[in-house]
Symmetry: C2
Subunit: 197 residues, 2 copies
DNA sequence: CCAGTAACTGACTGATCAGTCAGTTATTCA
DNA sequence: TGAATAACTGACTGATCAGTCAGTTACTGG
């Protein structure tokens, strides 16, 4: 469907140049159609932006479900989830979501999109942690709190990794993430990579 | 000096409406001068924005120096620093710096402003931690790492506190911050408020 | 008190762009 | 097949705004 191609192109352009610099004409050029077509489908630029971010959030959630839905151990599912989320891995749409934080300060509709994605992520992480605790893999008295603290740390590290790229190395960021996760979940340092027996 | 009034007004408007919506005319209205005067002093809007953020960063650094420069114990200096930085306290220019993260993705000049502030903050925090370790108040093998991890956590919590205001309570955010700081620096939970013997 | 300079203004312009509109092409389905 | 509808276009317009410019007012030091 054409609408979806437009959303994908829009999300891509926002990722690349930011919400502020997005022009309807650029989206049209990207798809080799007329600007009027973009307006025909979305009426206003603001609606286009909102839908593009919603679409991107849905894409992210689909990939999260895929990453964490496997039948492996809690440890494996945890590492899959972290690999997806952490700014040191395949890097999902981090730039998009940092944009979204700023835009969300003024636009409740955009804020809501990011918030929902954020909450679903934390819920998934909490669920994995709880499963791990039940199976005896992890130790924590507060799965939800651990999920929030881990997420906050990863968000903060993401700012370093994405905005201040190069100030500190990827390995360092990964090490800090893993250290925090290990501390929260009572893992020992030797268990910091997936697949270890 | 007039330049500084303009910078203050600009920073204030960015804080309120974001960089994207800043108009030269609004800055002029704020000060009851003509738009041409603003251009006279700063030549371009981009230069104005860059200088306003630099000015705001300098203000922040001055306040940081004030907060941490006291002659108290390491513990007191640490708490003063955290009270200044953490999004649960007096809230400095958090909205401004979240804006800056997004803007910094595209504009190296703006990225640099935020980066410098960030690095000075971490340096101050590291210095306080090292002093505390020397005095036997704190225990950590890696003061710099601790400072980075604490900062990352606080940045992540700031996104929750400022962008997603209301999803989780202030007391909760404070508790998590303090818990993380205590864990990093080998404090016990009873030492989580300043002034405790 | 006056010359030189800094601060400031009002009126303007040129570029940019979201969104409109009247019409054309493609698709569907009865 | 043909009528109805959806997808699409080119040409346009109206609003917005950063930045210009030719001047005026205020300040400062000699």
């Amino acid at each position: 469907m054409r609408r979806e191609e437009i959303l994908r192109a829009t999300a891509h352009l926002i990722e690349e140049h930011g919400i502020a610099l997005l022009r309807v004409a650029d989206v049209a050029v990207e798809l080799d159609v007329s600007p009027a077509l973009v307006v025909y489908h979305f009426q206003t630029k603001d609606a286009l932006i909102a839908e593009a971010l919603t679409w991107a959030a849905q894409q992210d959630l689909d990939r999260l479900a895929l990453a964490t839905g496997g039948e492996g151990s809690s440890r494996d599912r945890l590492f899959a989830a972290l690999a997806w989320y952490a700014p040191t891995g395949s890097e999902r749409g981090w730039r998009l979501w940092i944009e979204n934080w700023a835009a969300g300060l003024r636009e409740p509709a955009l804020r809501q999109v990011g918030r929902e994605l954020d909450l679903v992520w934390k819920e998934s992480l909490t669920e994995i942690i709880q499963a791990g605790v039940a199976e005896g893999d992890f130790v924590t008295a507060d799965a939800r709190g651990a999920a929030w603290r881990i997420t906050a740390l990863l968000d903060g590290l993401a700012v370093q990794a994405i905005v201040h790229r190069g100030v500190v190395g990827r390995e360092q960021l990964t090490a800090w993430s893993m250290q925090a996760v290990a501390a929260e979940l009572g893992l020992d340092a030797s268990l910091l990579s997936p697949g270890t027996p």
